[in-house]
């Protein structure tokens, strides 16, 4: 089955649930495959029967009627009981997995709070100051419990290679867990329709070796903001005067707005605008010039910035990276 599906290019797709990278997605895939086999079996029986009917039981102009068979208790019991047994087999895995996947077991669980916003994700790590956006960092080989809620409408967190989805419902906290077996970048996106920008509400999970993850935590806990060029310094000023700071937080500065994504160490993130665009100066400039043109429905206002101001702001945003502490780890 897996071979046939990968032949159609399904397994290599970056968001494919057929290419699990962790125990949750793997369990789910096993259930999917076992049900698929049952389904194929049923389909073959029905299609085979239809084929025989088409070949053997056509009307060929006979006058006399075929045997007028009205029923058979035995046969009807047969096709009540056999499907029942097949379903009972699938039921076992279904119930077991429902409970296994409901909450992470064991002690060594990393917890991350996830808040859905139209149309971006906020991640915070309880017990630290770390808050980030759109890009979830997790250590490989550790269970990660996601505590989900929403700031506005219903969203759903879905990274198919790591596991199925769970909704982020305003006024409610839901729990799911994921675990990545190998380091890598895993893509996902919002899976509950949430408005104009729904298609562009994308997600990236960066699963790192525990050492790399610890380093990232360090950088996020103690970000260094040191714009060096004059342009970048001007951008730092503009960030306040152009009201960016009323919506955005940047760790290591006094800017602490909470309406929009946290921009701490933004230059270290590979993507911007809800993982829509690669994080390049051109894309940042395009974003600041007209967010809705880049991402329809985006809730960051168009501030009608002059090209010079944009240049300065981009230089500042580009400087937001914390150098790896030497000799650490």
């Amino acid at each position: 089955m897996a071979a046939a599906l990968s032949g159609c290019g399904l397994v290599s797709a970056p968001q494919s649930m057929l290419n699990p990278a962790g125990p949750v997605a793997r369990d789910q895939l096993n259930l999917i495959y076992s049900s698929m086999w049952v389904m194929v079996l049923v389909f073959v029986v029905v299609a085979g029967a239809l084929l025989v009917i088409l070949l053997r039981f056509r009307w060929k102009g006979q006058k006399e009627l075929p045997p007028q068979w009205e029923g058979s208790t035995r046969l009807e019991l047969l096709w009540t009981i056999v499907p029942f047994i097949l379903l009972a087999l699938l039921a076992v895995g279904t119930v077991r997995d429902s409970f296994v996947l409901a909450a992470p077991s064991g002690k060594n669980v990393l917890r991350v709070n996830v808040v859905g916003h139209q149309y971006w994700w906020a991640f915070s790590y309880p017990g630290t100051n770390i808050v980030t956006a759109n890009e979830l960092h997790i250590p490989v080989g550790q269970k990660v419990e996601l505590v989900l809620t929403s700031a506005d409408v219903i969203h759903a967190f879905w990274v198919p290679r790591l596991g199925g989805k769970t909704a982020l419902v305003p006024g409610r906290t839901n729990i799911m867990w994921i675990e990545a077996s190998q380091p890598g970048l895993y893509r996902g996106q919002c899976a509950e329709f949430c408005g104009t920008g729904h298609a562009d509400m994308r997600l990236l999970v960066d699963a790192q070796t525990p050492a790399k993850f610890a380093q990232w935590e360090q950088e996020m806990e103690h970000p260094v903001v040191q714009p060096t060029t004059a342009l970048a310094k001007e951008g730092e000023q503009l960030f306040a005067t152009e009201s960016c700071s009323s919506c955005h937080t940047i760790g290591g500065t006094r800017y602490a707005g909470v309406v929009g994504p946290n921009l701490t160490n933004l230059a270290q993130r590979p993507m911007i605008a809800g993982n829509l665009l690669p994080n390049t100066p051109q894309n940042l400039a395009a974003w600041l010039k007209d967010p809705q043109a880049v991402k329809p429905g985006a809730l960051m206002p168009n501030l009608h910035l002059s090209p010079d101001k944009i240049k300065a702001l981009v230089a500042f945003l580009e400087s937001l990276k914390t150098p790896a502490p030497t000799g650490s780890v």
Binding site: L5, C8, L10, A13, P14, Q15, S16, M17, L18, Q28, L31, I32, S35, M36, V38, M39, V42, V46, A47, L50, I53, L54, F57, R58, W59, K60, Q62, L65, P66, P67, L75, T80, L87, A91, G93, T94, S98, F99, L101, I154, A156, W158, P160, R161, G164, K165, T166, A167, V169, P170, G171, N174, R187, Q189, A191, E192, F193, G197, A199, P296
Partner: protein, 631 residues
Amino acid sequence: MATHSERVWHGGHAPSAVAEEPRGLWSWLTTVDHKRIGQMYMGAGLFFFLLAGIEAFLIRLQLARPDNHVVSAALFNQLFTMHGVTMVFLAGMPLLIGFINLVVPIQIGARDVAFPRLNALSLWLFIGGGLMLYTSWFFGGAPDAGWFNYVPISGIQYSPGPGVDFYDIGLQISGIGTLMTGINFLTTIINLRAPGMSWLRLPMFVWATFVTSLLIVFAFPPLTVDLFLQTFDRLFGAHFFSVAAGGSPLLWANLFWVFGHPEVYILIMPAFGIISEVVPVMSRRPLFGYTTMVLSVMAIGFLSFMVWVHHMFDLGYGPWVNSIFALSSMLIAVPTGVKIFNWLTTMWGGQVRMNTAMHWVMGFLITFVIGGMSGVMLALAPADLQFNNSYFVVAHFHYVLIGGTLFAIFAGMYYWFPKYTGRFLNETLGKWQFWLVFIGFNVTFFPMHFLGLMGMPRRIYTYAPHLGLTFWNSVSTDGVFILSAGMVIGAINVLWSYGHGQLASADPWDGRTLEWAIPSPPPAYNFAYIPQVRGLDAWWVEKRYGNGRMLPAPEAHHGPPGTIHMPTSTPMPLFLALSIVIAGYGLILHSLILAIIGFAFVAIGIHRSMFTVDPGMYVRPHEVEEVRADG
């Protein structure tokens, strides 16, 4: 009809006698004849089907390539919302209700439904509510929160335009019509069966209608309530669903799916009924396992109320709830499987005539099995956490709704068209239509399973080129062209055959049920005399074991000799429906005057309908119109 006519109409003046059937537009607008109402349901259903098809076409064009710009994100959201709403409420259900209207009264040996005027009101409410919904495009945009319209996204804060109000009130109006249809057909089937038509002699299509009507009667009230609550939230500032004020978004979701899951069985049950009619007739043998068929229809109807959470496995109800609803959902596969195997056994060893109707039946069986199987996969809660809201789900419900419902509707169309128009649909065009639709459908929708497995969520207006989704999306869009070609041929066939098709006799298929015992097309009063039913497959019994004609029921069932008592036509239902629509506009457009006028008209209409006695009319049967079997 005759039996209850004496009991109901005790009007002051004597009923007038009319011989000719009236013609012209006004006669259609005022008719209470179930056959005309049924045809209008079909016509309006096909019209809305066309609109929803155009929406689907645009959706697929937009998704043909990554980062495409055929339509904007905002327009895309309106398109998929309207496509879903239209297909479910304004195309699927009306087409099925059309068949129900056309067929059920005749199959039970009645002259009309129990409440003919209510029936007309249902029709006009559906058309009124549907057209009203479509005018939203001219009032600032159609609803755009998806067909299940979850809150808070559909709340006033996140959807400030009037689109969602059109959804709430338009569906409310057409929903009232549907609810009345349910009540009407329950009453009709319980009370108007011809003598001898006991419960276990009801044709399967009537059974399907009976259970469908029960589902309507129990499933629509939760929707009604849901829509009312939201109307109050949006128009009058109530807080049933607002989190900040202690309301719950999950309340909407639960009420919606308590309605929504039975709704999908409302859409498939009559389709099962059609298949159960066509298969035995075209295989020249009785339906295999009639009693288990009846039992499984009942079981499916019952279970359909026990499974609604399977649409919300990802909303976080926990492993207990999810497991229970997963098991109940899986259980539905058992009675459904029984039906499929009983149909197969009916054909197995029979003499199957592979005409166009039967092509659709075969197409139905193949595609419906695929849809049913993917449905079982979706029922497995942990697996569904992957599938939910992905294109796998989109594939699944199109397999059951097109491959299931629509193919059955087409089977029914080719089967019953000669009965109600007196002419056959063209078989050559029919087979072209079948093959193009069947192939086009599978090319369009099978790849959607793949797209779901590859992690494509539904309701996205675009996708990134690097996700590997491009190829199968473009294949899917290609399929739409084949599918559309088939639909165009089908439309041509219907339009052409209506006036020029080959003439059909009363009983062209060697049928088994009562509609084949009266002329094609049937006279307004259906039966010159009420028939006496002497077995399951009443007409077949008389053809094979009687003397080839239906026997009249005992004298008491007929009313005065030589006359047939029928309800008179009236513009009241149309007037009432229009008034309600006007009131609806008043609410949506915040126009107090319009609302007052509308509701005043409603009050007048109800008053007039309640306190004016319709004496009915007597119709003289044309000649002794009697159908005799040839052999």
